[in-house]
Symmetry: C2
Subunit: 140 residues, 2 copies
Amino acid sequence: MNKSETDFYQVFTDLQCFILANMNRGNIHGVTATHYNIMEYIYRGRQVTGKQIAEAFQISQAAISKQLKFLTENRLIKQQQSTIDRRFFDLTLTDQGRYIIDNSENFRESIAKKASRSLTKDELKTLTLLLHKLMQQIKE
Amino acid sequence: MNKSETDFYQVFTDLQCFILANMNRGNIHGVTATHYNIMEYIYRGRQVTGKQIAEAFQISQAAISKQLKFLTENRLIKQQQSTIDRRFFDLTLTDQGRYIIDNSENFRESIAKKASRSLTKDELKTLTLLLHKLMQQIKE
DNA sequence: TAGTTTAGTTAACTTTGTTAAGTATTATGT
DNA sequence: ACATAATACTTAACAAAGTTAACTAAACTA
């Protein structure tokens, strides 16, 4: 690694440590980060299935199945067997689930706010642009 | 959240998902990311103790104790009771441990390389600078 | 219509974290 | 000097969240 790469490596190490350390903090409304992420995914998508969530988060369907069971038992989501193809379950948030998503300042939101506090508007734009460019390359 | 914050939020979401999904991949030499991170911390520091590692990674001392036991049993690190204060254990890598750290391209290293491929040198510098600034604010 | 594929579930297990209580060692206040 | 407190670490019992493998039920297909 050359100098610029090493510098980037260091700050990225910091960021990674921070993300890992803070991910499962908070437990807003008794909901863990994993639950929150799944609920958010359901909220933002349309006709979301378990399989899709498993692929999005890159974990096994079995794991998602367990989480969805928990969320259903706790009345945060509803699972309704699709009438078109009864192998699928349409997932939607309950009122309570929607309330949590709407009213929780999550981890990323708090980072975003801190970002706009510590950087100028132009800096934030540049950072967003560069991160976006980076992510494009990384995800290949 | 305003527009710039929302944009940042989106790309940060991407980044976070990626980090979480890819963290425990690889298992280079049969060593998980957690083991790797601890070993790297021991390697880079001097007179590292279990307590320090626990604080650095923000997990309990008990968890670190278990990981250190595993690493010692697998001859990746050595724990030697300090002669100055016998409550402490000086941690060092074994030859095998050092070999692994020296010869593994870890997750962050591969990101750094992709970063320098997808961005110009100036862009990478700017990104590093802005991320650094952000991290300063975030860690308060 | 028999065989295959797909979505999801369940069971048994692993990893990695937690808290609480314990040991051994060192520091401290009277 | 010595009881008490603090520190570094370990152990045990447990919890959360993931894994694989085997299963059900539904839909596709040749």
